[in-house]
Symmetry: C2
Subunit: 619 residues, 2 copies
């Protein structure tokens, strides 16, 4: 994780840009922020637009190299501009001045401009920004909002009087939705003297925060005279450090040197802890959408096997499960005579075969093992392992488990066919086909698995889904297929609930793997629903389990990232709402698919009807 | 440029892969090439497809890490496979074995597989490869062809008997066209003892060469016993070094150590010379398509100005031209009294204003200068320069030159409005508008410019155009718009010829900037036409000129890359063909555009009719 803060320094209007940049660099700051328009050139619109008094409105681009403009300077749009003024003259002049400054920022190639929002709605500002085809440029628009509104900070002692528009997240959220959640929009989140509730803070971490603005006024002074933050602020900055957010210091230095603020922030960065459930393996995968595997239609590649075989938890747990099952089925006194048949179906390159062989040695039980695999490329590896290591202990079978005609029935059927959402790689269909060669009292490992779902807010995932290339499919497909994704920049609106469960062997006469589930979630605070995150847990055997559900995660396991089912349009939720979501697992002869929709608090039409955008092939 | 050869070592069937890789690495080679199928595992199809004798056809993927498979190993498809056999049984078995090997290469994640072509057409092999959705994978298919066919090498003394299918370029080209010129297809070009003619070699440099295969048999031995190449081979390898091609050494070592071949090849790489007309500025832009600027509709950015202002040639030549014009218009005896008016139209950030001021000092003539510019962002710079440097000498005017009402007429009208194709940034239209404030005997600098065109073969540019994202426009647009591109991996089918000329001031009563030109080119050898490369030259004043036409290039100038007009479909040309191309420059009130078509040797319909895919806006 990022261990050094990238921190900028904010300057007021009128400072010399070269001097400011040198001062910031000398003190270790990475960039500066200052007004685009220079007050020396006061714009005079009365003389007409061709007059130098209007045209020469700011400093020359020759003052810095393009390199510096492109990487070191954030431009502030003049804060007296009011493009949403009810006075038409003010509005029109404001629009003109806004565009002049914005276009100049594009001319300079600035990485970002900042704009300040307050409780007043700014629909005309949103339109102006959205009209500028900002997605065609590299520039970002950072929306400056405080964590707590000034009004609330002032009225702290009479909470009952707070009006509805006092939530700065709401200001930001409404503005963002007006701009169609454009990915170029980000938050410049200003830390306030008081911090909001934990829930409100957590919700901000689901937003595209680009910079944390830290006023010098919130710093305290320690015994040695250096700037420090309160414990609550320290904790907040350390959490920001986890995400690697940039910082921006503003306000006058209240201490001996501006350098000490940065040193202190760097100290907080270096002492920040890792996020729960993360490990080096997930580095670089943050919020990166992947299309789920189609293991029945496509053959996995060597590198895929290699990565998954390295999981330090999964195969240990399988070994424990097989060990227990072997001991349970054959008492000690029969151990030397009773040979159990273990069939590994979907053996890949053999990790479960090794787990079974090792478990048998440890359990002091005799086994005869079959390794059934349909991928011809993995079979090359299996035959090579048989020739060089396994010998007579293992029979390698090149076949699809659903059609194989086994020479005998097995005691234990071992498989690892689960996806991020449990059944989504068609484990139910495969094991239903394979259980015909499981003895009537035989054991399936795993014997049970359940999918889980929770509502998720994430502009980041919404924008990633929107940017997906659907190839030959219609554009709608990008919002009608699930993605496997390590989710970081998200806010969980309500905890995950269980959805579909499958049990093996499946003793039902009418084997039917279709499912329909309705889940209800309580909305704790105003939020925006962008989709649903999916997880699973599984019982391998008795008390041996695996889980990627947040509240029961198998620590250290890395074989699965969560799944994400997007929604076409963001859905605004209010505190206290009940959210009702419908999920279907459906199938025909060729494939299996999910459909999903919402009935409360608003109706959202069924996504992926008939599997039109995404399905998992059976053939 | 690349100064060290990336060279692989080819191994025959049956060698141990780990040993081979270690041997290659120890001797400095970067990768190895060896057959995908290992002969130890002889495939036996007679026992059925589920038998280990068929399934276990090669070595296990566990022998190397994925990292090594992904970067260090090129797989050779078995060369006894004949998927184009007239014997149905051989054909079907060959197809099966081919797919088995190809799929295994995908499984391993090899960077490339190689296939050998000979004079026999291979339509079924092309179909098989094209069917494998190779564009969805990272793998490349390297087609191994000799520079001269074995038959020609053998029949050297009776040239008259050579049959039509003796040209290896033809084998490759037909195969490539069958595969729709897929960008994953590349050439593994085998150097032969005799080299073909200069023309044939040059044509190869227009193909996607992925590796140069060098047999040890072509090396000679110098006095000290080390391997060296003939002068002709040396020259060829040095040219390959310029392009940074990889090498692959094959055959047994005929000298004391395999290391010495690589040392010698590295020596040739290090002594290779730079390509004509290239400079560091073009690094990274090789064959990278850019959409031409729209300077009338879009405002140039600060970084664009910054780059172009650094051109070491252009402004020196403008200064020389202005110097000569100033002296020509006012004799020495009037120098102190006669003040000439110089108007720079499209002044940008002022480089031509500085050129004019410096020329005046050097010419000892007095001038009054106007800087006319429509870009409000550049005007900020111009006003700043006036305030800090120019003072009364320069009047800055914020206006479009076409509508400006000048307070007086000028002696010299200076502009730099030329694009890569001369008139394609609408210099004619702008100067026609500006010449109303040029005195009747006034001088326009430039006073004349001409566009040039030549037919170009380049699978690379064809594939780059095909991969262009047309956004909201129809897919056809990618082949109906010109691109600005520094062209490297191309073959010039015939030298450039002049097309359209414009003269300023334009004294014609009916100012008409539409043009229609027909050019004829003689085809020197079999080739494939992918489009036309465009250039321009200009007369600034009298003998002061600028040119990006290959035969008259202004050395050191870097402001313009050539332009490229693509064709939807590649056109096969035969030696001796006459190629007739039609080019139009057309306009309406809003825009200007080009259309192009071919009438000989085949008809190619008009591209970009009515400017539907690309036009240059006047407003």
């Amino acid at each position: 994780m990022v261990k050094k803060a990238s921190c900028g320094l904010d300057f007021p209007a009128g400072t010399d840009i070269r001097t400011s940049l040198n001062f910031a660099s000398e003190n270790g700051y990475s960039f500066i922020s200052l007004p685009i328009a220079h007050p020396r050139y006061k714009r005079d619109l009365s003389k007409g637009r061709a007059d130098p008094a209007y045209l020469a409105f700011t400093r020359s681009d020759l003052l810095l190299s393009c390199q510096d403009w492109n990487y070191m300077v954030i431009g502030k749009i003049s804060d007296y501009i009011d493009v949403d003024s009810s006075c038409e003259e003010v509005r029109k002049e404001s629009e003109e001045i806004f565009l002049q400054e914005f276009m100049y920022a594009l001319h300079l190639g600035l990485p970002a401009v900042t704009l300040t929002l307050d409780s007043q709605p700014k629909p005309n500002l949103a339109r102006l920004i959205y009209n500028q085809s900002i997605h065609e440029y590299q520039i970002s628009i950072w929306i400056h909002v405080p964590m707590v509104s000034p009004q609330v900070l002032a009225d702290d002692y009479r909470q009952d009087k707070i009006c509805d528009d006092s939530d700065p997240w709401d200001w930001w959220n409404n503005f963002k939705l007006m701009c169609n959640s454009d990915k170029r929009l980000g938050v410049a989140l200003q830390v306030t003297a008081d911090l909001p509730s934990e829930e409100v803070i957590t919700r901000w971490f689901g937003e595209p925060i680009k910079v944390i603005v830290i006023p010098t006024s919130i710093f305290l002074t320690n015994k040695k005279g250096f700037p420090v933050l309160s414990l609550a602020h320290q904790a907040f900055i350390r959490r920001c450090a986890y995400f690697g957010y940039q910082m921006l210091l503003n306000g006058n230095s209240k201490h001996s040197s501006i350098k000490h603020y940065l040193q202190y922030l760097n100290h907080l960065y270096q002492t920040s802890t890792q996020h729960e459930n993360t490990a080096p393996y997930s580095k670089g995968f943050e919020d990166h959408l992947q299309i789920p595997l189609q293991p029945l239609m496509d053959n996995l590649e060597s590198s895929t096997y290699e990565v998954f075989e390295r999981d330090p938890v999964k195969y240990t747990e399988y070994k424990r499960a097989i060990f227990k099952a072997l001991q349970d089925r054959v008492p000690d006194n029969e151990a030397s005579t009773n040979v159990q048949v273990v069939m590994v179906v979907g053996a890949g390159r053999g990790p479960l075969v090794n787990a079974a062989l090792e478990a048998a040695v440890k359990a002091e039980r005799k086994i005869r093992c079959y390794a059934v695999e349909k991928n011809p490329n993995a079979l090359v590896t299996l035959f090579s392992l048989k020739a060089e290591e396994w010998g007579e202990k293992v029979e390698v079978v090149g076949s699809d488990m659903r059609v194989w005609e086994a020479p005998e029935k097995c005691d234990i059927l071992v498989s690892e066919l689960l996806g991020s959402f449990g059944d989504n790689e068609l484990s139910p269909e495969c094991l239903d086909g394979a259980q015909k060669f499981l003895k009537d009292d035989g054991i399936s490992i795993p014997c049970k698995y359940t999918s889980y779902l929770c509502p998720t807010q994430s502009s980041k995932l919404f924008n990633e889904a929107r940017a997906t290339n659907t190839g030959d499919k219609p554009q709608i497909a990008k919002f009608e297929m699930p993605y496997v994704v390590y989710q970081v920049n998200t806010y969980t609106i309500a905890p995950a609930k269980s959805l579909f469960t499958f049990i093996h062997p499946n003793k039902d006469k009418n084997q039917d793997n279709r499912r329909y589930g309705i889940l209800k979630f309580h909305v704790e605070q105003d939020s925006v629903l962008n989709g649903f995150s999916g997880y699973f847990d599984t019982v391998l055997y008795k008390d041996v389990t695996l889980s990627i559900v947040p509240h029961s995660y198998s620590t250290g396991m890395f074989s699965w990232f969560p799944i994400f089912f997007p929604l076409k349009e963001p859905v605004k939720l209010k505190k206290g709402d009940e959210l009702e979501v419908h999920f279907w697992r459906l199938c025909d002869k060729k494939s299996v698919w999910y459909e999903w929709s919402i009935t409360k608090p608003v109706i959202v039409p069924v996504h992926n009807p008939n599997g039109r955008s995404y399905n998992i092939g059976l053939l």
